[in-house]
Symmetry: C2
Subunit: 554 residues, 2 copies
């Protein structure tokens, strides 16, 4: 067993037996006409792949593989369209080689060789991209640079509450290493178990905190990045006003400028006091107004996730007229009940009824010292939603194998635009489903909220047609992306751009900035070898590597 080559996470955690049956029942209740015949992926050895077009020089062979299973498993990320294509055994673009550098020198050696030989390099952490960020979707040869052998916590500064960490570490190993010091990074994206610090930094990942410290950027003190032009290391300070932030160039650079090898990250004391509640609304407009009032109050809940009625039903099993606000406060230092009291008042002002309120002043102890995306104590819908949160990707795979189109997309917009955006996105999704002859539902939740606007996260659950679900999804995705762009949302709040979001990113990004970024990339990656097609087109000097499959058209 081990990591699944074709789907999410670990093979032995896949949905089977009773869980699968229950899932099928729920879907059948929602979409009675769905054909839920279960399809199976081929064995990894049976996936056809062309022979590698390049071979590593002798000096690199100690950590470079051209094995079939390695190449297949590193061929793409874990988006719905990735999983379905895997289920069909259709791996159009696989890396020719998989490099697993053990040191920064190994990284430099790979970049040097690739720059000299005109071979593309795709930096790869946990491989959990859902935007085509790690797929060599171009014609020339490619090396997948898997960072997970560089996976140590190198230093902990308990005084400043920070740690120097190698970028290839996965979430659980990082938390395990920090736990003895009573510290935690507390960055828990849904991909936590199967994504790396470097991947979080490269994609500006969103994490645990619904407010204030929403993004890995906020937890970053400094970074080391190996580029073809040399290694960049920013000064480790709590804040600097010395010119534009060097880290700001590399955060979100998605492997196009270099390979992030290390970072100093800001840590938290492990929370002791927690309070949680689920607030039910009869009216979604009231629920949105309450959420806005709450985030503008300065109370800074750690959890502030408004589930719309569809989301509440599908993922928390809770009937609700106007939605459920899953609310949490936490602190390592002081009780948070007064904050929850005031939050409840604000919700009541907008018609919210608090249920399942719980609090705990020994949170870390009661959770057995473990922490993670599902650890904070909360009852009822809150707890059910959290547990479902961790299972979602596995269930997505099970449904994808049953011809269901199950995928998410996300954005952020200012409060004044949210109503129009939600309506436009929902209508666009439903129109696209109708055109595809596919019945389905659209749900919405907030993953993060800011004083000036929410980060809405949409889910679609559609009965697709086996063999056509990728095309069907791409049509839906294209329609909702157009709606997001039209209504003033960002094409991504935390999933990144990759290859799949390029058309909308190119329109969103100021042209002047694009010119500056291209120039910066040419300075750091003069051969244009780093992740061609992501964020910007390949450097023309890097001949032969063109974006052969501009997603989501295929």
């Amino acid at each position: 067993m081990g990591r699944s080559w074709w789907g999410w996470g670990d093979e032995d955690a896949a949905v089977t037996g009773e869980e699968a049956a229950a899932l099928e029942q729920r879907v059948a209740a929602l979409l009675p006409d769905a054909d839920l015949t279960a399809h199976r992926p081929p064995a990894v050895h049976d996936v056809p792949l062309p022979a590698p077009r390049v071979s590593a020089p002798a000096a690199l062979r100690a950590f470079v593989s051209d094995g079939h299973a390695d190449r297949v498993a590193h061929a793409r990320g874990k988006a719905f369209r990735d999983v379905v294509r895997n289920l069909h055994g259709a791996v159009d673009h696989a890396p020719d080689l998989v490099a697993r550098p053990r040191t920064e020198q190994d990284v430099t050696d790979v970049l040097d060789w690739c720059t000299g030989a005109g071979v593309a390099v795709i930096p790869y952490g946990g491989g959990s991209s859902v935007v085509g960020g790690v797929e060599p979707r171009f014609d020339g040869p490619a090396v997948c640079l898997d960072t997970t052998a560089m996976n140590k916590v190198l230093e902990v500064d308990a005084t400043s509450r920070a740690a120097r960490v190698q970028a290839g570490i996965l979430g659980p190993a990082l938390e395990d290493a920090l736990r003895p010091a009573g510290l935690t990074l507390r960055h828990f994206p849904q991909s936590f178990e199967f994504s790396t610090l470097g991947g979080w930094l490269a994609t500006r990942a969103g994490g645990h905190y619904a407010t204030v410290l929403t993004r890995i950027d906020d937890l970053t003190e400094s970074m080391r990045v190996v580029t073809p032009a040399g290694t960049s290391e920013s000064l480790r300070v709590p804040g600097s006003g010395a010119g534009p932030s060097p880290d700001g160039l590399f955060l979100g650079s998605e492997g196009t400028l270099g390979v992030i090898t290390e970072a100093w990250v800001r840590l938290q004391d492990r929370p002791r006091y927690t309070a949680s509640a689920a607030v039910h609304f009869d009216d979604y407009a009231g629920a949105v107004a309450a959420t806005r009032a709450l985030v503008q109050s300065g109370l800074s809940p750690s959890n502030c996730r408004l589930l719309d009625p569809v989301e509440a039903m599908l993922n928390a099993g809770t009937a609700s007229q106007g939605g459920v606000l899953v609310l949490g406060f936490e602190s390592a230092d002081h009780p948070v009940d007064a904050a929850m009291d005031r939050a409840a008042e604000l919700c009541a002002d907008h018609g919210g009824a608090v249920r399942d309120r719980r609090s705990d002043d020994r949170a870390e102890n009661s959770a057995g010292g473990r922490s993670g995306p599902g650890s904070a104590g909360a009852g009822g819908p809150a707890r059910r939603w959290r547990s479902s949160f961790l299972r979602m990707p596995y269930q997505r795979d099970a449904l994808a194998a049953r011809s269901m189109i199950v995928e998410t997309f996300e954005t952020a917009c200012t409060w004044d635009r949210f109503d129009a955006l939600r309506h436009a996105v929902t209508a666009a999704a439903q129109d696209a489903m109708a055109q595809e002859g596919a019945a389905g539902v659209v749900s919405c939740r907030f993953t993060h909220v800011y004083p000036d606007g929410p980060a809405p996260y949409f889910g679609v659950y559609v009965a697709g047609r086996w063999g056509a679900t990728v095309t069907q999804w791409d049509a839906i995705k294209s329609a909702v992306s157009e709606a997001i762009a039209r209504e003033g949302g960002t094409i991504t709040h935390h999933h990144a751009v990759g290859r799949d979001h390029r058309p909308w990113y190119d329109r969103q990004r100021p042209d002047v900035f694009a010119g500056a970024f291209r120039a910066a990339k040419s300075a750091l990656d003069p051969g244009g070898v780093l992740n061609p097609g992501v964020l910007v087109d390949s450097d023309p000097r890097a001949a032969g590597r063109r974006n052969a499959d501009p997603a989501p058209s295929r």
Copy 2:
């Protein structure tokens, strides 16, 4: 009357009469050997200036001046070394022309003409730079582009609590325009009255909040920037993970990439509940430990400014063995007394004694609706320190005219390095004073604090020798900058780089980032006309403009 051409702020606010006498008395008590003879600046008309080397084309003349007083008043910022050189009537480098564009098209026209004619352009807001950021310290001709005619609040979105504001607006006018909506930007740098939104953005200014929202970056939704390569406008959203932040390139760009013309900024409701206190310590190490505990507690005080004993005495008139922590909490939504209670407990754990504790639940009303850097209600040392804060630059000028060297410098470092850094900086300052044969004192306060470290702000008060105080200061500044660099601090937390910090900035900034930034600048400013010598050296293609006076050597 009006703005002082040579010193800080308004001429009629200058220190005179009783205030001057009291100031002299205080200094005489501290430094009995100081020669406090008052010197006066020449009249602006008597300052010698070469004739302008260029004249504006006809199309620009409606908003371009070559007047003597305009050129002298725009020749430099308001650092100590600027004021002293003005007192001596020595304006080595003045702009040839002062342009006051009324529209973005005017800005574009200036950039186009200057790019074509090889004339440098120095973007200029309130002119309060203390780092040589607006001084045309090079050989070729220069236009000062004064943005203050573009000074309107264009739009207020009360739902999302944001406003679209022209960059040339000064602090008080911005707050006046927001007040009717009950909103405030609450960004109050010491220069608040005489600096602009565009200047804050270009220098990543630090503001009112000691924690969390410490910097104008945190209050910025999106920006418009006019560059020689076109106008960049970022999408207005509360957060985006679509590639590296476009705003991140322009925040801190100090006029080297373009002219910031507009921004959407995040606003706050005006605070209603406030609590303040002054916490006295017998032991500075305990005071530092208390401050660290406080900022790591997650209580997020709005004010958390630790004054060391020298600072407490000089600027709050308070005797203290170990320093005074000036503490404040505020909220528009909920009482903050519980937060202050917990803060007091944490301080007591480290030997702090709370005095002058006050709270107010009608803060905005009791302050008569006015807000600003000195408005929050606080008694005793807190209030005295705040009032002194606003007068400091004026008093600095009065003392500069009396041969005193009165200047500040600032940094940020992680907590584990702070003790060593403070000792090294203080020793370096004292050694340099001794070498200059000048007696003086060094004070330290924290302007902002982060969970991972403080932003220490140092002041020097030195009895100088008339005619030599700039040289003496430059020697001290160089010594303390070396100490900061050696001990792992940033060369600036919020004063910016300008021309004066270049030697240390060049060492601090990763070379790889410098290469990327230079490439980005070449793409946006191909003529190399924008603020040559700031952040990076002039583009070689822009011949004739070399950094003729690398500060602080003159």
